[in-house]
Structures are given as structure tokens and as C-alpha cells.
């Protein structure tokens, strides 16, 4: 066990910090769940890509930097430290990208990965359907083979980033006679294909963070299938592991929120008194614990290990921590907790909480945090997985 960074790692941190300080937009971007904000974020991704920081741990050939996962953790720390924008293509860079690396053909890697890294193509997820939520094996949307194409019929829902994205990945039933986990295939679908209709859905926060997507005889070439026909479930489980586990929820995000929570408490300590102090400190400790566990996981992966069902432990921990941090912040804000940001987010808000752009929007963050225990497999599903796959308890009926 050696918990010191190497000189090369320190140098990389300094380099990333300098680049980010020089390039992170001074003014906040609009939310990427608005059309304008979406394109602003895509422009930021282009800038990251040009700087060589879009996909730190990816091979250079696919638009990455060829760094290892430790350097990726360091980069993430610097990224959140710098207050850089959210990653609009997170579905592509953190979920689909690693999935294509594992299951894609050389041609698929060459076709898709560079455009994911540059965010020339931004991705939406297509898992859930109206009748397939937690019970994902109940998927009905099907893809009928017709020569060199699949013909897609059916509906996906809660497609994150679906409102403005270019492509969607998801599972479709390619064997009409199949049931449950069998007969599903993982397909990559252009959202501008004829027969695809996207209907944005406003979320709890008011913006269209996800969409319903309808398929009416949309044709998708067979080469857009990842892995074998009928292998969809296996591929999707790997993707879900990336989502629950390491990549999407890098610890720096929660450490940053914890740091901001501490600052908020210090600012309001005179008014709120001691009552919330322990809650604030516990949030900080848990964010640290999450970071430490991630370093352990990365050390294990660098030694040849794989992400397994323990991703379910991660998912519960970070999602509940995120809710708790935002709840605590709202309790500190007291009566001001109910205030929405000023309509023009770049203008100083008329609230004593201060200029909206200089501080986190705790209310919006709270609403977003509430989605954490739901998406990427509800925390109830994660607890089932932990109970059965990690603890070895009998299957629930």
C-alpha cells in the first residue's frame, strides 16, 4: 500500500490544473437540458477534446489521452476543483464508450469511439419502456431482421439526454419468440432516422432532461448491433455496471459538493447554530470514504481486476450521500431554501444567498439528487442484487 502520488502523477495534475484554469468558461453555461445549453456544452466538449482532455483514460487512437485510471481520477479531481461544466455526453463517454471498448468490433470502435470522444455525436440511453422499468427484462420494443437491417418498432422512455441527443443506445427484442433476458440485442440507433420520433418530457426540475422515443419501422443497419444477436442482456449489464460504478460517478463530484456544503455551513453557522454541524461533517466524511473506496477499486482494476456486483454498493452509497448533502444544505438555507434562481442565471440573484452563478443551486441540485436513487437501477434493485449476488441470500420471490 502506497498512498503517495508519483512525480509523474503530480506533474500530470499540475498540467491538467493549468489547462483547466486557462480554458474553463468564466461564465456558467446554461443547463444542458435546454437547446441553447446543450450546444454550449457540446462546444465545451470540443474544447476539451482539442486540449486532449476529453477522454483521459481512452487510447489515443480513439480520441483519448492514453492515460491510466489513476490519472483519470486525478483529472476528475482537477475538473471538479476547477468548477468545469457537466459532461453533456456522459452517456457516450462514460457508459457506451467503455461498452464498445469491451464488446465492439474493430470497425465499430473506429466508427463510434472518436465521435464519442469529440462529442460530435452525443448519446441518449434507451433502456426503460412504459412496461419495463425495474423489470428491464420485460422489454417489448423489437427489432425485426430484414436483410442487412433491423426494423424497429415500439417505445423507449426516460431516455436521458434524449431531447437533444444525436444517437441512442438500447436494448431491443430481436427474437420475437423470446422471453425475459433472452433474445435481446444491444443496438445503436441514430435519432434522426426516418421512423424515429422524439418527444421531450419535462422533469421534476422543469427541464427536458429525458424523452420518450417512438420507433415506427425505423431501419437500423445490422452493423449497429453491439456483440451477438441475443447477447443484449450481457452487454447491458456491463453498461449498467459502468453507470452504477466507477466512471460516471467519480468521487470528485461528491467531494466538491461536500466542500461547498462545508462552506455553506460556515457562512451560515451563526444563524443555524450547532444543530447541523455533525450532519455537515458526516457528509464530508462519507464523500471522502467514497473517494478512498474508488482509489481502492482503481488499484484493483489496474492489477487486472474487474468491476462486478460491488457496483451496486457504490450506487447506493453515492446516490444516498448526494441526497443527504443537498438536504443538509437546504436545511442550512432555511427559509431561503425554497427560492428558485433568478430567471437570468447570469445576473446576481436578489436573494441573500448571493449571486446565483457563484454558488451551487442547492434546490436544483436537491431535485436532481432525488433522481439518483431511481436511475441506473433503483436502489431497491441494487439491494436485491447485493442480497442475492454478494451476500448469497436466497432469491426473493
Amino acid at each position: 500500500m502506497d498512498l503517495l502520488y508519483t512525480p509523474a502523477q503530480r506533474a500530470f495534475r499540475a498540467e491538467a490544473r493549468a489547462w483547466l484554469e486557462a480554458h474553463v468558461p468564466a461564465a456558467p453555461l446554461r443547463s444542458f437540458d435546454t437547446r441553447e445549453g446543450f450546444e454550449q456544452h457540446r462546444a465545451w466538449e470540443r474544447s476539451l477534446h482539442a486540449g486532449g482532455y476529453a477522454m483521459v483514460p481512452w487510447p489515443v487512437a480513439y480520441g483519448g489521452r492514453g492515460a491510466d485510471l489513476l490519472e483519470w481520477l486525478i483529472f476528475e479531481e482537477e475538473y471538479y476543483r476547477a468548477g468545469a461544466p457537466k459532461r453533456v455526453n456522459q452517456n457516450g463517454i462514460f457508459l457506451l464508450g467503455p461498452t464498445i471498448m469491451e464488446f465492439g468490433t474493430p470497425a465499430q470502435k473506429a466508427r463510434f469511439l472518436p465521435k464519442i470522444a469529440s462529442s460530435e455525436e452525443v448519446w441518449a440511453q434507451g433502456w426503460s419502456e412504459p412496461n419495463a422499468g425495474s423489470d428491464m427484462a420485460a422489454i417489448q420494443a423489437h427489432a425485426q431482421r430484414d436483410g442487412d437491417c433491423y426494423v424497429l418498432r415500439g417505445q423507449k422512455t426516460w431516455a436521458s439526454r434524449g431531447a437533444f441527443a444525436d444517437w441512442l443506445f438500447g436494448m431491443f427484442r430481436t427474437d420475437p419468440a423470446s422471453e425475459r433476458h433472452k433474445g435481446l440485442s444491444f443496438l445503436l440507433v441514430p435519432l434522426d432516422a426516418p421512423g424515429v420520433t422524439v418527444r421531450p418530457v419535462a422533469q421534476l426540475g422543469g427541464e427536458t432532461g429525458f424523452a420518450e422515443v417512438f420507433f415506427d419501422d425505423a431501419r437500423v443497419p445490422v452493423e449497429n448491433r453491439l456483440a451477438g444477436e441475443g447477447d443484449g442482456w450481457r452487454v447491458a449489464m456491463a453498461t449498467a455496471g459502468f453507470e452504477r460504478g466507477l466512471m460516471l460517478r467519480s468521487p470528485a463530484r461528491f467531494q466538491k459538493t461536500a466542500q461547498q456544503l462545508v462552506a455553506l455551513y460556515r457562512e451560515h453557522a451563526m444563524r443555524v447554530g450547532e444543530a447541523l454541524r455533525d450532519d455537515v461533517v458526516r457528509c464530508w466524511m462519507d464523500a471522502e470514504a467514497y473517494a478512498l473506496e474508488t482509489y481502492r477499486t482503481v488499484s484493483r482494476l489496474l492489477a487486472g481486476g474487474k468491476i462486478g456486483f460491488e457496483a451496486s454498493l457504490n450506487k447506493i452509497f453515492w446516490s444516498e450521500l448526494d441526497v443527504r448533502m443537498h438536504e443538509t444544505a437546504l436545511r442550512i438555507l432555511g427559509p431561503h431554501a425554497d427560492l428558485r434562481p433568478a430567471p437570468d442565471a447570469t445576473a446576481p440573484a436578489a436573494s441573500p444567498v448571493g449571486a446565483a452563478h457563484a454558488r451551487p443551486d442547492w434546490l436544483d441540485g436537491y431535485l436532481f439528487s432525488l433522481s439518483g436513487p431511481i436511475y441506473a437501477g433503483t436502489n431497491e434493485i441494487q439491494r436485491n442484487l447485493i442480497a442475492e449476488r454478494i451476500l448469497g441470500l436466497p432469491r426473493s420471490v
Binding site: 464530508w284 488499484s299 492489477a303 439491494r383 441470500l393 420471490v397
Partner: protein, 359 residues
Amino acid sequence: MRFAFRDDQLLLQSTVRDFLRKACPPAVVRRLWTDETGHDPALWAQLAELGVLGAVVPEAHGGLGLDERDLVLLLEETGRAALPLPVVATAAVAVPLLGELAETGAAGARLAGHWLPRIAAGDAIVAVGHPEDPFVTDAPVADLLLLAHGDELHAVERTAALRWVRHPANDPGRRLYTVAWQPRAETAVAAGAVAQRLLEAAFERGALACAAQLLGATEQMLDLAVAYAGQREQFGRPIGSFQAVQHPLADAKVQLEYARPVVYKAAWSVAARAASRGVDVSHAKLAAGAAGDFTARRALQVHGAIGYTWEQDLHLWMRRAWSLALDWGTAPRHLARVSAFVLADGAPIGPGHSFEGAG
């Protein structure tokens, strides 16, 4: 940067685990509960032979020459076994304390040279009387007592002049005593700032050792609850197939697995004498203590009424977890230290700072 144990460290851990499973089953713990001295010389000798007692004793003094990064895994196993012997005070606290005393001068070096080989050989038990703790655990069986007195540290050999009073504890494996003794000039081994520094280091090591034992005890309670839930049937099926039983145990697993890296990091910090070690140790004790308490409650609930009996073994670890949470600094004591760090002006917190105190 590599946050992982080496294979040889894990091998030593599993050797100790296998040994304790056979040598310290619940029947042995219960026998020691009612034993007059609470001590088991044969088991103690075997622990010495395995290297547990001399793990951090330098090789020159007959030990393994390891440090806290290794010891943490062995202590985890003693927690898993609910081993009611004074391993924390002797092997985790007194050994490094004697080592540090050796660096303070010729008298300290003589003291360390005398006792360290005996500890490693299993021929000596050391009790520690620390200002943070009103009790001196296992005082009557100790051959040497390292006792704080004002701003002095004394090394007192067992003599007829020592008198102690036992205070029965909730965990019968925990032997709490207050000790009456006369400090004399010739027993003083450190004073002033030196004694202060040594006692602070002892506090970190004691708290770290408790946190490590808590990890083992917590995992054991979870294992017991999982095993029971898989075998106990109600409504025609194992109760472990009910989500109402599964989910609290899944939550306990989450708490345990997020306490673990905190304890391991603290072990590294103590071994490396990192600037962050005080906060790291306090965080470790809090996280492991919370996981232990949470798991004890869930494991008891899963067992139901049978778990509420004296006969069922679950409470061996519940009592251990509760007492470990009190030893070497209670939760409020440790939380105050973390608070002081986190809420200070210019505290080095936020992304990128996790290992800063190490550098």
C-alpha cells in the same frame, strides 16, 4: 499510488483467520468470560508464534518488523473472532510506544530492549493507562503497565504494591480496572512534551486498532445474519428470501464496505506518520463504529427472539462492537476532532486533497 494489500499481507491475514476460527470459537470466548483472570496463556503463546503479538516488533527484537499496514489486517481477524485477550494494548499500542521510548535515550532503549523480545515471544502482557480512558484494561494479568500520570509516562512492573479494582463491563470479555499505584522517580520514562507526543501517538494507534477489530466483528455479525436468514424458514421459505430481511443486510454491507477503505487509509497514515493521521484515525473509528452499531442492530433484528438470548452467539460480537466503539475515544470525541479539521479556516478539503496529508 497503490491502494491495495500485497498477496503476502493477505496470506498472513488468512493464516490468522484460519487459526482463530479453530483456536478461538465462541466456546472459548465464553469460557474466558467466566475465567477468573480472563486470560488464556496457551492461546496467547500461539498468537505469539503466529507473529501477531510481535508483528510490529522490530526483527532485531524477535518480531516480524512489520507496521500498521500489516497489523490492521491481523487485528481485523482478532475482531472477527471476538478474541477477548489484550492484543490491542500489548501488540498495537505498547510495542510502538516502547519503540518510540527507545529513541528518547538510553533508559528508554533499555526498557524497549527488555520488553519487546518478551512481547514478541508471548512472555509479556502490557497494559496501558491513558489519560483518554478512565480504565486500564487487563491490569491484573499485565507484566508491565505503561501509565500516564500528569504530564509523565511511567513504566511500572507488576508488583505487590499495585492494587486494582475491577469494574464489570457489558462485554464480559472486556476486563476494566482502575489501578492504584505510587508514581516514583525511577518508574518515570518520559515527561513533558515527549510524554505528550508519545501519548498522542498511542491514542492514534489504540483507536486505529479498535477500528480494525470493528471491521472484523461487523463482518462476522453480517455473516451470522446471512447464514441464519438462509436457514431459518417461516411462511414456508427461508426468511432471507424476503426483501424486508434482505435490504437491511444489504445496507449493512454498504456501510461495512465504505468503512473499510477509511480504516485502511488510517493504517497507512499511522505507519507513514502522515500529517493527516489524527483525522484519518478518527474518521476510521467513527466509520467502523457506525458500521458495527448499524450491523449489530440489523443482525439482531434478523435473528429475532433467538438473537435476544444469552445462548445464541450473536451477542459475543454485538457486545464487542459496542465496547470497541467506547475504547480509545468515543464517537463524540473523534467527531470533534474531524469537525475541528473540516470546519477550520482554509481547511484542505475538496477534490484532490484526500492524500495531501500524506505528502
